[in-house]
């Protein structure tokens, strides 16, 4: 056995490990590896997604129907229910993503995170992998809201481009808010504090947006907040793409730009905070 203990030359990496591949290739590989694993787990245990259908159903059936009758909110050429459907989709995306950060605390307590951070994978790949799997979870909400909207006879746009656009924005929005949630989790580090903060964050994000009323009816201070709230851009894009007669207020290019820039900034920030959780 002595021969096996002999000294090996020093390489940058052990044999079989690609040390010189492009950083981008490695980044994509690590991100998809992590997202794939999360989806596999989700596929084995999808119950959670269905319980998530209850809240948006209540919003649309109760709140939407009542306020639609009142005609209290000026929604232009759209009926109130039609106006509200994309808003409730955005809300579901937000609610499902904003508690996603708890998974990093969970994985820390299980010791899984400790193993991930000692692999050569970059921290931003660890973060974006999680964000993308949250993105796909968000798609389930899209399916649910489309079905509800059909039942309620809301005029849906069925063009392939429109639907693909909606799904794309759902993935981006879920990724954005779940990364925000991961950042919060990295800062607070315990489940109890995280759940508390999660509750505190959701409602302000929701109400300071154009999800269930337009910017035009807001007092100036709220409108200012709504304009820096990424959720407003999610709603704006979904409203333009999902329902007949919907128009983007900010422009789809602007909506997309805000999503990409905020997501990238949050991924970089969270990647910096990530190792804190295991220290």
């Amino acid at each position: 056995m002595a021969e096996a203990i002999q000294r090996r030359p020093r390489f940058a990496a052990p044999r079989g490990v690609s040390a010189n591949e492009l950083a981008m290739t490695a980044f994509i590989r690590d991100t998809t590896a992590l997202a794939e694993v999360e989806l596999r787990k989700l596929g084995r245990d999808p119950i959670e997604l269905f319980t998530r259908a209850i809240q948006p159903t209540l919003w649309l059936l109760v709140f939407g129907q009542v306020f639609g009758r009142l005609r209290a909110i000026p929604t232009g050429n759209l009926s109130y229910l039609t106006f509200m459907v994309p808003g409730i989709l955005a809300q579901s995306v937000l609610f499902i993503a904003i508690f996603y950060g708890i998974s990093v605390i969970w994985e820390r307590d299980l010791g899984i995170l400790q193993k991930l951070v000692v692999t050569p994978a970059t921290r931003s790949a660890l973060v974006l992998g999680k964000a993308l799997s949250a993105g796909v979870r968000g798609l389930s909400q899209g399916v649910i809201i489309y079905l509800l909207a059909l039942l309620l006879r809301v005029p849906i746009r069925f063009g392939l481009g429109a639907i693909a656009g909606v799904l794309g924005f759902i993935i981006l929005g879920s990724a954005l808010f779940s990364t925000f949630s991961l950042a919060v989790a990295c800062l607070v580090k315990t489940r109890e504090r995280f759940m508390g903060i999660g509750q505190v964050l959701t409602m302000p994000l929701f109400f300071a947006s154009n999800a269930i009323y337009p910017l035009s009816v807001m007092p100036a201070w709220l409108r200012a907040l709504a304009k820096i709230n990424p959720l407003s851009y999610q709603v704006d894009a979904l409203r333009a793409l999902m329902v007949e007669g919907g128009h983007p207020l900010f422009g789809l290019g602007m909506d997309l730009g805000v999503h990409l820039v905020v997501l990238a900034a949050l991924v970089l920030l969270t990647a910096k905070l990530y190792p804190n959780v295991v220290r």
């Binding site: 079989g16 490695a26 000692v118």
Partner: protein
């Protein structure tokens, strides 16, 4: 245990510059080298100017009472925690400047039993094979090799939540060896395992060292484990190494028929007087469990 590694190593054999290993392993530069390694947490100094060298291919044990700084040392060496002062080199790379190179060359098994229960053993391994950057054409082979090496082939497609504690530990060691790391760090690898599983883990760790030349740095509270498995041990106390040597040499140093328990008490036994009473120990234990 016969492991066939030749199929992937042959083409690079000509690059080898190593001296031929004679009867005795050659004296090489240490694979892990700590120089004044220090870590503070607020007012606590968890690791205090620690200087240790772990020779290549050695199974090295870090011992010491709860809170001695063992886990903190491993966290610094695995680049998870930046040192407050001092430096260390792992496999020739600086743990701060070349953190990614260090991570390419190490494996880590944490104090917690921690494989992902919602995945099968195979899926767990494949994830780490990808994250460790193992080339696509070698991935399946490496996963199969690790499963075989850790005697987990039959359980490969079972969800890990149905594994026993011993199997999970073996799976974690399998995960950490996929990329043939030069150094393997294990934090209390056999805690909570029954005697049979414990001996199995020891055999596998010896096998890793013998067949792959892996240098192993592990912590343990188990004196039998230290005695049987480790060639060199360092006893830590209050963040410092208070004794270093082979188990037999340390026993001789303490007394004619001392066992390793006596050695431990002799060098670190003052912990109760130094470290305060029950509450602090309980708190350290809790912290240790929480933080790994």
């Amino acid at each position: 245990m016969v492991i066939n590694r030749d199929h992937e190593n042959k083409p690079e054999a000509s690059l080898s510059t190593s001296t031929s290993a004679g009867e005795n392993p050659p004296v090489a530069a240490p694979t892990v080298e700590m120089l004044g390694l220090t870590r503070h947490f607020g007012a606590t100094t968890a690791v205090n100017a620690l200087s240790l060298a772990v020779p290549n291919g050695c199974i090295f044990g870090l011992l010491g009472p709860n809170g001695a700084g063992k886990t903190t040392t491993i966290k610094m060496l695995t680049t998870v925690l930046p040192p407050s002062a001092g430096t260390a080199k792992v496999a020739g790379f600086d743990i701060v400047r070349d953190a990614v190179d260090v991570r390419r060359n190490i494996g880590y098994v944490s104090q917690m039993i921690s494989a992902d229960g919602a995945l099968t053993g195979y899926e767990n391994l494949l994830l780490f094979a990808r994250l460790y950057g193992i080339e696509r054409r070698l991935r399946r082979g490496r996963v199969a090799e690790a499963l075989r090496f850790m005697a987990l082939e039959d359980a490969a497609n079972t969800l890990v939540r149905n594994y026993s504690g011993g199997m999970i530990r073996r799976l974690e060691i399998a995960e950490s060896m996929l990329h043939h790391p030069k150094v393997l760090f294990l934090d209390e690898p056999t805690v909570g395992l029954d005697p049979v599983a414990r001996h199995a883990v020891w055999d596998h760790l010896r096998g890793l060292r013998n067949d792959f030349g892996t240098t192993i740095l592990m912590t343990t509270h188990d004196m039998e484990e230290a005695d049987e498995l480790c060639e060199t041990i360092a006893i830590m106390h209050l963040g410092q190494a208070v004794a270093i040597g082979s188990p037999s040499a340390l026993k001789v140093q303490v007394g004619p028929d001392a066992d390793l328990d006596d050695v431990f008490v002799y060098f670190a036994g003052g912990s109760i007087e130094h470290g305060g009473g029950y509450t602090e120990t309980a708190q350290i234990r809790r912290t240790a469990r929480r933080l790994g």
